[in-house]
């Protein structure tokens, strides 16, 4: 089976030759191809090279255009610093206060420098994939993008102090995410990852009011445009699982502290769980044997939801090759 057949067979409830490996690579891929991270996130050709090599050498069953959270923020007009070999960031938030929200306007993704760079990455991935590897695009969810624009602490305060204004901000970020997701699907993405990391910090009551409606609507728009949805919320989402079950996502990434068994009990059977061993304590710092054991555990406990295998979050930059290879080896051994 090729990667496309493997993933879609699993998603359709069939039995693939082995479980799909959907490990997320960013910094690791840049290091693998020998370029500083600043260049990797700025040039789609390098990002594609990293994705292609990770597919070929480590058995990742997708080409994924994820790199960093700041592409849309830059498109909105934030001044984004791209360090030579570190993660892009904004020194000063674009939105200093809730009164600045009205100045924000969603843009045509093709007109944003690094948003367009991601579209070019997706196009190149689609060409290379030739129907044999799923192509995964990526957008920031409304909560995550709001934090990128406002600063995470300010957002967390303002969600309590100015809920109406925050709803306005979320609606703008949601609209940008819809445009970006549709543009990536048009460019060839089969699946769109929605990164909404900060949503794990707000608890179920605020999640239900401020995160779920936008994630759900975004998933609906992606489905309508012909894509599948991979929801990625890093961190401890145990208290959110019941609500996440209602997002309509096809694949839900679970970080390593989330109880996969509980998720399988809560999620509908056609909502696929992806995860979820510890990226740092196990993948980066463990041994190949330890990693194989962790992969086996994940394979057993999530089977009810036709699960997919990955560490709980990004593969760390300095992960030893033999550790990363152990994931593929264990998946192939069963």
């Amino acid at each position: 089976m090729n990667s496309y057949e493997r993933l879609y067979t699993r998603l359709d409830g069939g039995k693939p030759d082995r479980l799909p490996n959907l490990s997320l690579v960013m910094f690791f891929a840049a290091k693998l191809i020998g370029v500083p991270f600043g260049k990797y996130v700025s040039d789609y050709r390098l990002l594609c090279e990293g994705a292609f090599r990770c597919h070929e050498e480590f058995g990742i069953d997708m080409f994924c255009a994820i790199s960093d959270p700041m592409r849309e923020a830059e498109g909105f007009g934030a001044v984004v610093t791209i360090p030579d070999d570190n993660v892009p960031y904004s020194k000063a938030p674009l939105i200093g206060s809730v009164s600045d929200i009205g100045k924000l306007h969603p843009i045509d993704p093709a007109s944003g420098r690094r948003m367009n760079d991601r579209l070019l990455a997706v196009q190149k991935m689609k060409e290379k994939a030739a129907g044999k590897v799923p192509v995964v695009g990526w957008v920031e969810g409304a909560i995550a993008e709001s934090c990128d624009l406002m600063g995470i602490s300010e957002f967390m305060l303002n969600i309590m102090l100015y809920p109406d204004e925050i709803r306005e901000l979320l609606a703008i970020c949601y609209e940008q995410a819809v445009r970006f997701a549709k543009a990536q699907i048009a460019a060839g993405a089969d699946i769109i990852g929605i990164g909404d990391a900060a949503a794990s910090l707000i608890g179920p009551a605020l999640y239900e009011e401020f995160a779920l409606p936008y994630e759900k609507k975004l998933a609906g728009e992606i489905h309508a445009a012909g894509g599948l949805v991979k929801l990625h919320i890093c961190g401890n989402t145990n208290s959110l699982l019941t609500l996440m079950a209602d997002t309509g996502a096809d694949i839900v990434d679970l970080d390593h502290m989330v109880d996969m068994n509980q998720a399988a009990n809560i999620f509908p059977a056609d909502m696929h769980i992806c995860g979820n061993f510890d990226p740092s304590g196990v993948l980066l710092r463990g041994t190949p044997d330890r990693i194989r054991e962790a992969v086996r555990t994940c394979m057993q406990i999530g089977d009810r939801n036709a699960n997919l295998i990955a560490p709980g979050c990004e593969v760390p930059r300095d992960t030893p090759f033999e550790n990363f290879l152990a994931i593929r080896e264990e998946l192939s051994a069963v």
């Binding site: 602490s153 967390m156 969600i159 510890d278 980066l284």
Partner: protein, 209 residues
Amino acid sequence: MILEELAIAVETGDMKKVQALIPQGLADGVDPQDLLDKGLLAGMAALGARFKAGEVFVPEVLIAARALNAGTVLLKDKLVAGQSVSKGKVVIATVSGDLHDIGKNLVLMMLESTGFEVIDLGVDVPVEAVVEAVRENKPDILAMSALLTTTMAFQKDIVEALKVAGLRDGLKIMIGGAPVTQDFCDNIGADSYSPDAPGAADAALALLS
């Protein structure tokens, strides 16, 4: 009664009520130290326990911290120097190359509400700056945060640099952050690891007991 009300106002993040209760308490002759310890800090400690139990989350903690800070500003000139017994002095920082501050700030709030004096070095703090801050402030505890697997190694560099500088003995070192584990803590020769902010305050108390 007013102390209970004050604690509840902090716990619910009601800044305006805190700003009303502090002057009222002072006018009624309540000891300013009690307004701080049994009112403001007690409220924050209660919220910290609920945070640890998963009953409240980051926004509720930040809104409570805002109310707490508004209260401490009003008490600043009223407190008698030396009357407050600090549980110990902590220097806290997010390590070099890492701009994440929310975890560090939550730990800071929990430490302060537990009665520690905390000196915040901020984020992206170079190894040398941490060593210099330890030399200058002579803390009981150094607390370090790293959210990235690419920056957690600086926690080890700092432990080593403190040894070279002759500052490791007598200093307790706590580490935290999403990728950090107890195994990593043991491996780099730090003294304590906590997976969450309220746990960090408990760990700090245990280190100095």
